[in-house]
């Protein structure tokens, strides 16, 4: 059964869907905000959203990097680390 860290199945699903939809329908700063907020509950979501955004919009040429994927990976890494610390510490108990 798919569910997030501390939110219900349907809420996590809605967040995931909303984040994907925002890549196409909303301005990108809003997408970043949404992906960052969702990362508290779904750690890998920023990476997925970054990859999806770069799939749609990134054009490789000199001097540019797929920043959305890179920052998404970074956010996902930080989020997973924080989740790990919370779970092993006394805060999450």
């Amino acid at each position: 059964m798919m569910r997030g860290t501390s939110l219900s199945f349907s809420t996590c699903g809605t967040l995931t869907l909303l984040a994907f939809v925002s890549v196409i329908f909303f301005p990108w700063p809003l997408t970043i905000m949404l992906a960052f907020t969702s990362s508290f509950f779904i750690p890998l979501l920023p990476l997925a959203i970054g990859l999806f955004a770069d799939t749609l919009y990134y054009t490789p040429h000199s001097g540019t990097l797929p920043l959305f994927t890179l920052y998404g990976a970074l956010a996902a890494g930080v989020s997973i680390f924080v989740h790990r610390q919370l779970r092993t510490g006394i805060i999450g108990r």
């Binding site: 059964m1 798919m2 569910r3 997030g4 860290t5 996590c12 699903g13 995931t16 984040a19 994907f20 196409i24 329908f25 909303f26 301005p27 990108w28 700063p29 779904i42 750690p43 890998l44 979501l45 990476l47 997925a48 959203i49 990859l51 999806f52 955004a53 799939t55 749609l56 919009y57 990134y58 054009t59 490789p60 040429h61 000199s62 001097g63 540019t64 920043l67 959305f68 996902a76 997973i80 989740h83 790990r84 779970r87 092993t88």
Partner: protein, 272 residues
């Protein structure tokens, strides 16, 4: 006790915890693979989605603008109508002048170009790019220049597929363009700063003021934007011009693609 602790620790990255993330990541990778393997099919699928996004965005703007002050809107409408009349007259005079000049030089610059619809634009598309619903089949090739309403240069075609292409705007980071500024046509190098803004550096002694028009090469000198701010650092020999595009990039819906033969410093690729 120890066993319980280890079970909890191992459960940190368990399937139940990360499954929504894994599911999202799998979807993103599948979409990426489709784009890499079948780029044409990918854009055929996503173009209707972008069109719906455009329609929704337009409706949203209309809805929000309905709450603004009616009196303020009326005054603004009247002012814009007056400006429009003045500009139409000026445009007519300039058009006549162009015809006269073309007659003199008997040039072939009056090419109509390729009209292409814009599928995605900033701010939805980051990196200052436009996705166009026209590609190789319409005659678009790498390095062609894109023009907006009124013949305003917008950017360079940096990626081409059979039926779709992408334009990297002059405001994209890493793009530099030779241009001119002011009535005297002072030569400058315009560099993209992202988010629709361009920069240029000129000598402190150059008499450039806020509001001066910036030109880019096309057929001749074409207005690309205006100087909106001049940043001066006492320790630097020059001043930095902040340039705003002449056209609102957020509302570009159609562009004309032409081969101007002007080289730009952006290394375009044929990657889909």
């Amino acid at each position: 006790m120890k066993k319980t602790f280890l079970v909890k620790r191992n459960g940190l990255l368990s399937l139940t915890d990360v499954s929504w993330g894994v599911f999202a990541l799998a979807c993103a990778i599948i979409v990426l693979l489709v784009r890499l393997i079948a780029p044409g099919f990918f854009w055929y699928v996503f173009t209707p989605v972008f069109r719906v996004a455009d329609a929704v965005s337009l409706e949203g703007h209309s809805f929000i603008s309905g709450f603004e002050n009616a009196a303020k809107l009326t005054a603004q409408n009247e002012r814009l109508a007056n400006e429009n009349t003045a500009l139409a007259n000026e445009n007519q005079a300039l058009a006549q002048k162009i015809i006269d000049i073309e007659d003199l030089f008997t040039s072939t610059t009056a090419k109509s170009g390729i009209l292409a619809g814009v599928v995605a634009r900033p701010p939805e598309s980051p990196y200052d790019t436009l996705v166009l619903a026209a590609g190789e089949n319409a005659g678009i090739t790498l390095g062609m220049e894109a023009f907006g309403d009124g013949g305003v240069p917008l950017g360079i075609v940096s990626s081409v597929l059979a039926d779709f292409s992408r334009v990297t705007l002059f405001s994209a980071p890493g793009v530099t363009t030779a241009g001119w500024v002011g009535n005297d046509g002072l030569a400058i190098t315009i560099s993209g700063a992202g988010a629709g803004v361009m920069n240029a550096t000129v000598s402190r002694s150059a008499a450039i003021a806020v509001g001066d028009t910036v030109f880019a090469p096309g057929p001749g000198m074409l207005p690309i934007g205006k100087v909106i701010r001049i940043d001066s650092n006492p320790t630097a020999p020059g001043v930095t011009l902040r340039i705003q595009p002449a056209l609102n990039l957020f509302s570009v819906s159609w562009v004309t693609i032409r081969d101007t033969g002007v080289p730009f410093s952006i290394s375009a690729t044929s990657t889909p």
